[in-house]
């Protein structure tokens, strides 16, 4: 299933061409950083990502999330926004040991629309931050994560 074999040349070529494309692309996020995904509290995580920048709370980011997560292992989210020129979307789960879930760059050819499934340790806010035209915006929504009764 996971390839390390030389004879999957076509795959490797495809992968390298996309990697090269990455380096020269404005949509590139740069290297994946372990420090982004540190085990730390949400405040420290947000400070690390955004420094002292203001995260403007806005009603213009819409989160489709279940009010109660059937199982904290798989929480489906859909993020949309009417704000123009969004180039990056960030997802955080406030009380996860590693609050940073993911970040997505968005090319102008994409609508601001991200669907994903992530883990939540306990009831808390899901925080979504977007970046557009040099400004950060945020919204948050509480998801209840219950201890199973008979999930087994």
């Amino acid at each position: 299933m996971f390839t390390k074999r030389r004879h999957f040349l076509r795959q490797i070529i495809t992968l390298s061409s996309y990697t090269t494309g990455l380096i020269f692309s404005k949509v590139s996020l740069g290297n994946w950083l372990a420090s982004d995904f540190s085990k730390q509290a949400i405040d420290a995580t947000l400070k690390q990502q955004f420094g002292d920048q203001i995260l403007l709370t806005t009603p213009k980011i819409k989160l489709k999330l279940p009010r109660v997560a059937e199982n904290g292992s798989v929480v489906p989210i859909t993020i949309t926004s009417s704000i123009d020129n969004i180039d990056t979307v960030y997802i955080f789960a406030e009380k996860n040991p590693v609050p940073f879930i993911a970040k997505f760059s968005i090319a102008p050819e994409l609508e601001t629309f991200i669907g994903a499934r992530f883990k939540m340790k306990e009831t808390c806010d899901v925080i979504v931050v977007v970046h557009a035209d040099g400004q950060y915006y945020q919204t948050r929504q509480r998801v209840k994560v219950t201890l199973g009764g008979c999930g087994g």
Binding site: P66, E70, N71, S73, P76, G115, G148, G149, C150, G151
Partner: protein, 277 residues
């Protein structure tokens, strides 16, 4: 005089109902019970289990159904199903219609062996007949093969009968029914305690599903493990949770229980493989 006749008539009815309860009347009664409990549901809705009655859980489930995680196991199952045994034969050689679109006919009473054949036990019977080691029930390869076979039967109506001429089949049904209603374990629950008496109510944070339709949506991708699981594994877990003796998957007791539940759900559409928490 008239009142006397009325009373006699009522007593007779009660007597008939008690002594001459038939599987058909059992099923009628259970369905009538759920119908008054959940008047908004059609019979087919019960195939969705707790999602038919828990709208919050349903919205989360539907979001995941957009691209359900069981598709991975389904694809693996198709490959496994088509793979030849070491003797060159295939699963298709063991089953009617090459094993395609037949899952709704299980479980059934087999006159030859005087036992209940479930789909899982039929898969292992097929393997044994072809000198292949049996698969363990409840997890792994068998869940992938069952995912594929269930998928080919999606939408097909459950076909579970009790052959009229077989008193042994009727006895097996009755034993399955007795199991369902028998209180067990430290917590002294029966299946009925939760899934009939308290269907739609919460146990801690979870809504209890109705027993009607329990056999329609297997195997299931369990969100909590990220693995496929089976109905019999679920029975095992329920018994573990109420701290009762755990009858193993595909034991006689559990096959009888499945037979009873499947008979109750006769005519409901199959919709496995499914996602469940």
């Amino acid at each position: 005089m008239k009142a006397h006749l009325k009373l006699t008539f009522l007593c007779l009815q009660l007597l008939i109902g008690t002594i001459w309860a038939t599987p058909a009347t059992d099923r009628q009664k259970i369905r009538a019970y759920y119908q008054q409990l959940f008047p908004q549901l059609t019979l087919a809705d019960y195939a969705d289990g707790v999602y038919a009655i828990d709208p919050i859980a349903k919205s989360s489930w539907l979001a995941i159904e957009e691209f359900p995680p069981y598709e991975i196991a389904l694809e693996q199952g198709k490959t496994l199903f088509k793979q030849a045994f070491t003797n060159g034969k295939h699963y298709a050689d063991c089953f009617p219609n090459q094993g395609i679109a037949i899952a709704q006919n299980y479980p059934y009473w087999d006159t030859a062996t005087q036992s209940i054949i479930t789909l899982a036990s039929a898969i292992n019977n097929c393997r044994r007949q072809n000198q292949m080691p049996p698969l363990s029930y409840g997890a792994g390869e068998i869940t992938q093969i069952m995912a594929y076979m269930a998928y080919t039967s999606r939408g097909k109506r459950i076909q579970t009968d009790i052959p009229a001429q077989s008193s042994a089949a009727l006895a097996a049904y009755e034993q399955g029914k007795a199991y369902f209603y028998k209180r067990r374990g430290q917590l002294n629950f029966s299946c009925a305690s939760c899934h009939i008496d308290n269907a739609g109510k919460y146990i801690r944070s979870e809504m209890l599903s109705p027993a009607l339709g329990h056999t329609t949506h297997w195997p299931a991708y369990r969100l909590n493990t990220g693995e496929m699981s089976t109905l019999h594994r679920r029975f095992e877990v329920c018994n573990e949770l109420i701290r009762a003796k755990v009858d193993p998957a595909q034991s006689k007791a559990l096959r009888q229980l499945e037979y009873f539940l499947s008979y109750m759900a006769n005519g409901l559409p199959l919709n496995g493989p499914a996602t469940r928490k």
